[in-house]
């Protein structure tokens, strides 16, 4: 498929996911057990997408998260871009194609991004956000459980479009 069409499609998916996350699956309504679809999307971009613009998509998705999460200054943009780069670098590993490893990658990506953010918050202790490491572990598990089947379905759709 044309790379521009792939990029635009993934951009639309990104907007769709952020919309769902800020309405139906907002943590205000779904609580801590909500899956972070945006993070799953970024791991998907890092693992599957051959589009060079996927780096921009990951940054754009993080920026939208920043704006809609009370206009945070680059917190999500940078943490998710970092997660994208780490997964992207390791995505040549053959075991990454297995569901169990994928689940582990999503889990570790969740832990990484939140540890990244929490470390910044701890350094700037006056920020006042209240969030425990147990919450992060819980979210990592939820993301893995939701993410693996989503990956499986999205991977198939993506492969079909790539033909």
């Amino acid at each position: 498929m044309n790379k521009t069409v792939t990029f635009v499609s993934l951009l639309l998916v990104s907007v769709l996911i952020i919309t769902v996350q800020s309405t139906l699956l907002s943590p205000r309504s779904a609580g801590l057990l909500f899956p972070d679809l945006n993070l799953i999307f970024i791991v998907f971009l890092a693992v599957y997408s051959e589009t060079k613009g996927s780096f921009l998509l990951a940054a754009g998705n993080g920026y939208m998260m920043d704006v809609l999460s009370g206009n945070l200054p680059g917190t999500f943009t940078i943490s998710r871009l970092s997660a994208y780069m780490l997964v992207r670098t390791s995505s040549n590993h053959v075991y990454l194609k297995k569901s169990l490893v994928l689940g582990l990658v999503i889990f570790l990506s969740t832990i990484f991004t939140w540890t990244f953010i929490l470390t910044i918050i701890r350094i700037k202790s006056d920020a006042g956000f209240q969030f425990s490491f147990g919450d992060i572990i819980l979210q990592g598990l939820v993301n893995s459980v939701v993410g693996v089947p989503l990956f499986w379905a999205a991977g198939r759709i993506h492969a079909r479009f790539q033909k």
């Binding site: 909500f34 704006v67 809609l68 680059g74 970092s82 780490l86």
Partner: protein
């Protein structure tokens, strides 16, 4: 660690330090005037409105269905009240409740000293990092600007954090970044109401002040954001720490089921206290 390239680790470390620097910047100065932030709000406005409308209709239809089921059961059991029940089944409890809320909002408009704009909540923060943020369907095109106080007929809700063209973000009073200068209504003891996620806490009340559980907390108007005398909540518990008293405050507005709000078009006079 073998499969991570050394260069990637270095870039991530650099990004981390950039993130720390960005986080250090003053909240007021960062993105509020950034056209990209407003663009994001504009891009997400229409999908959010669509999802919100569809969800409201689906929930309304489901409630209507439940109501109808209930009416049918009533009809079976109480044949003699058939006519009354037939009338009732066309009345949606949702519409009634909404009418009541809207009426109260109109009453609020009548008594407010400042012009107000009604708005519907169409979304919320997509992150648990700062979940005490909601998105409303009014923005710069309706005269909304950053810092304007947001209320409901029950009291203070929060203030506008970012105004897009058609939608805006509202920072709720339960957010840890929020601060409202306030009085205890009964004794005029002054303090700062801060958010703690699940509720609020009124801090920096002088130790000699008279504060009791059940006291109403109202805005003082001295922070430059919120008008004077609007109810914030009720004192639920009191603790003393050093020379100050802290009081737990339960917000008067049920922020978890927020649907309609009014944005008070009051210009910001001063800087908010803890930013």
């Amino acid at each position: 660690m073998g499969f991570f390239k050394r260069r990637t680790i270095l870039i991530v470390l650099v990004l981390f330090f950039i993130a720390i620097q960005l986080f250090s910047l003053d909240l007021r100065e960062k993105n509020s005037q950034n056209p990209l932030s407003k663009l994001v709000l504009s891009i997400t406005y229409y999908p959010q409105m669509a999802v919100s409308t569809v969800t409201d209709k689906a929930v309304g239809a489901w409630r209507d269905y439940i109501d109808l089921m209930h009416v049918n059961e009533e009809n079976k059991r109480l044949r003699e009240e058939l006519n009354a029940l037939r009338q009732e089944k066309f009345e949606s409890a949702e519409i009634k409740a909404q009418n009541a809320r809207l009426k109260k909002l109109l009453d609020f408009k009548d008594v407010s000293l400042y012009p107000v704009v009604s708005a519907n909540v169409i979304g919320a923060s997509p992150s648990i990092l700062r979940s005490q943020v909601v998105i409303v369907d009014k923005g710069g095109a309706d005269g909304i600007t950053e810092g304007m106080p947001v209320a409901s007929y029950d009291g203070i809700v929060g203030r506008i954090l970012l105004a897009g063209d058609k939608s805006s973000e509202v920072l709720l009073i339960t957010d840890p970044v929020s601060a409202v200068d306030a009085y205890i209504h009964r004794t005029r003891a002054r303090g700062i109401v801060k958010g703690v996620g699940s509720g609020c806490v009124m801090e920096y009340i002088e130790n000699k002040s008279d504060v009791s559980v059940g006291d109403k907390v109202i805005s003082s108007g001295k922070d430059g954001f919120f008008p004077k005398g609007v109810i914030i909540g009720t004192v639920t518990d009191i603790s003393s720490n050093g020379s100050f008293i802290s009081a737990g405050v339960s917000p008067h507005v049920d922020l978890n089921s927020l649907e309609e709000v009014v944005i008070i078009q009051k210009s910001v006079n001063n800087v908010v206290l803890n930013e």
